[in-house]
């Protein structure tokens, strides 16, 4: 499962690191490191993490209906 985080948008709330700790991890206080190719077994966790991200910075491929808000969030860019 491919994913990417818009790290311009990310503010280090770390919600993803709690919800999908095998995929997202904080590196220091605010820096986020993630696995851009998460195991499919992690899908449920990753989708939950993407939905919970306060700044909607996580884009996951093939999220079905859930992609819509994420896509909107990303295309604003900054």
């Amino acid at each position: 499962m491919r994913l990417v985080v818009d790290l311009n948008r990310c503010q280090g709330y770390a919600q993803c690191a709690f919800l999908a700790p095998d995929v997202f991890a904080m590196h220091g206080d605010e820096a986020l490191l993630y696995n851009p190719h998460a195991d499919d077994a992690q899908r449920e966790h990753v989708v939950r993490a993407a939905a919970a991200c306060p700044v909607q910075a996580i884009l996951v491929e093939d999220m079905g209906d859930a992609t819509a808000p994420v896509r909107e969030g990303l295309s604003g860019g900054r």
Partner: protein, 463 residues
């Protein structure tokens, strides 16, 4: 065919070719489909891989927590494209509207998007660059090779302490490898963030055990009899023994393939207007050639209409979306690319982020936090207005400063900030190198005493 009729035809049956199959190329392709383009779409990429994300290559991949061949970018939209991967574009015929490929093929277009990005500037001395153990890091193949080599490295030499070099040094230290960083400026990150912040970056590196040597250049790389890197010679006459050298001397724009095309393309990128349309060498804007991403150089209204060339992830996405939209829109519906520059880096456990154009800054004010705590917000001023901001582990404040930049707010800002310290009461010079002075001119040394045996040793400058 009149204008409107042509556009309608273009949108339904036209041929769009995108040269460059990385972040900007992919996001442009998706935007084209999303906005209803139903004609033929071809993506040409010199690497044999589908579009992948590069930022993890100098971080997760070197740390071994992600694999170099598994950073493929997620797709936002089905793009139904013809992919020509692993074959570089070698020429452009603007009159015939054709792109020439390395395999001899030619691809015709009605609209062309150039998103060929940059490549890592190689070590200038070819024989030395070929030594076993000398690396650059730009592509995923570079990252895979470097990552493999790090497992057996004894000492890593990083040449150039910009963001890439600093991130690599950080990853190597985290892997427990001895690292020497050689930087010709007075501190790391000076070109991007200035000397005040560069000093903090220098302290961070040293605290993490980096052998940081500033104000020096590597004058030569030396191999053993088997052609393996053995050591590097520095401009102060010292030698650093290293079996891995990482050349991180910035990037060069991929425009060589456009030589002679008549397009305004050179080593500094391809000039385009704010609507992403490329200029030709006569300074006339083209109607059918667009540019996006690292290779583009476009005027930004907020920064005195200067032509900015940004190697930023977010710029590639935003500019690709604007270019794609404009490629299939009438002139009245076109949008300007007015993205406020922003970038991030994570190194030595710190999240570094910036908005605006720090290098325009004359002065910097530490508006929040403290340099000594490695947690602060620096605000850059230019001619009495806020022009940029940088945060070290204070991301949450950055958006506020972005609004100040967008609103041309006065500098120094007049607000009482949260966590404002006494040391941040007054702006200080931001300490950027003077762009009119060469930072990498030749090194000239004299030896000998009598007029007859005076010798000049000339070490050429390296761009």
């Amino acid at each position: 065919m009149d204008g409107d009729g042509y556009l309608e035809w273009m949108r339904s049956e036209g041929r769009i070719v995108i040269v460059g199959a990385s972040l900007a190329g992919l996001r442009a392709a998706e935007t084209l489909r999303e906005e209803g383009f139903t004609g033929s779409l071809t993506l040409i990429g010199d690497e044999p891989h589908e579009p992948y994300d590069r930022p993890p290559l100098s971080k997760q991949v070197l740390l071994g927590t992600a694999s170099a061949d598994r950073t493929l970018l997620p797709r936002r939209w089905a793009i139904d494209a013809t992919w020509r991967l692993g074959v570089a574009a070698t020429g452009l015929d603007m009159a015939a509207k054709r792109v020439r490929l390395a395999d001899g093929d030619e691809v015709g277009y009605d609209r062309l998007l150039i998103a060929t990005g940059v490549h890592a500037r190689p070590w200038p001395h070819e024989t030395e660059a070929d030594l076993d153990g000398v690396f650059v890091l730009r592509t995923r193949d570079d990252a895979a090779r470097l990552q493999r080599r790090l497992t057996s490295a004894r000492r890593v030499l990083v040449i150039g302490a910009g963001f890439t070099g600093s991130e690599i040094a950080s990853a190597c230290r985290e892997r427990g490898l001895p690292v020497t960083v050689v930087e010709r400026a007075a501190a790391p990150l000076v070109g991007a963030l200035g000397g005040v912040v560069g000093q903090v970056a220098a302290e961070l590196q040293r605290e993490h055990g980096v052998d940081l040597r500033c104000g020096l250049m590597v004058t030569g790389l030396e191999g053993d009899s088997a052609g393996r890197l053995r050591c590097a010679h520095l401009s102060d006459g010292t030698t650093v023994e290293a079996d891995v050298a990482l050349v991180s001397l910035g990037a060069t724009r991929n425009t060589a393939w456009l030589a002679g095309s008549g397009l305004g393309a050179g080593p500094r990128g391809i000039a385009c207007d704010a609507g992403c349309r490329a200029f030709d060498v006569r300074g006339i804007v083209t109607d059918d050639v667009f540019v996006a991403g690292d290779v583009a150089r476009s005027p930004h209204a907020l920064f005195g209409y200067q032509f900015l060339s940004l190697e930023h992830w977010g710029n590639a996405v935003a500019q690709a979306e604007v270019a794609a939209h404009n490629m299939i829109s009438s002139s009245s519906e076109r949008r300007p690319h007015l993205w406020v520059p922003a970038f991030w880096s994570s190194q030595f456990g710190v999240s570094i982020k910036s908005v605006g154009v720090p290098s325009l800054g004359e002065e910097i004010l530490i508006a929040q936090g403290a340099l000594a705590e490695r947690r602060f917000t620096g605000v850059y001023g230019y001619q009495g207005r806020v022009i940029a901001a940088v945060t070290f582990d204070q991301t949450k404040w950055l958006e506020f400063y972005q609004r100040l930049i967008e609103g041309a707010a006065p500098f120094p800002p007049a607000f009482p900030m949260v966590d404002h310290r006494a040391e941040g009461l007054r702006p200080v010079p931001a300490d950027f190198p003077d762009p009119s002075l060469p930072t990498h001119g030749p090194s000239v040394t004299l030896s000998g005493y009598s007029p007859t045996d005076r010798r000049v040793a000339f070490t050429p400058g390296r761009a």
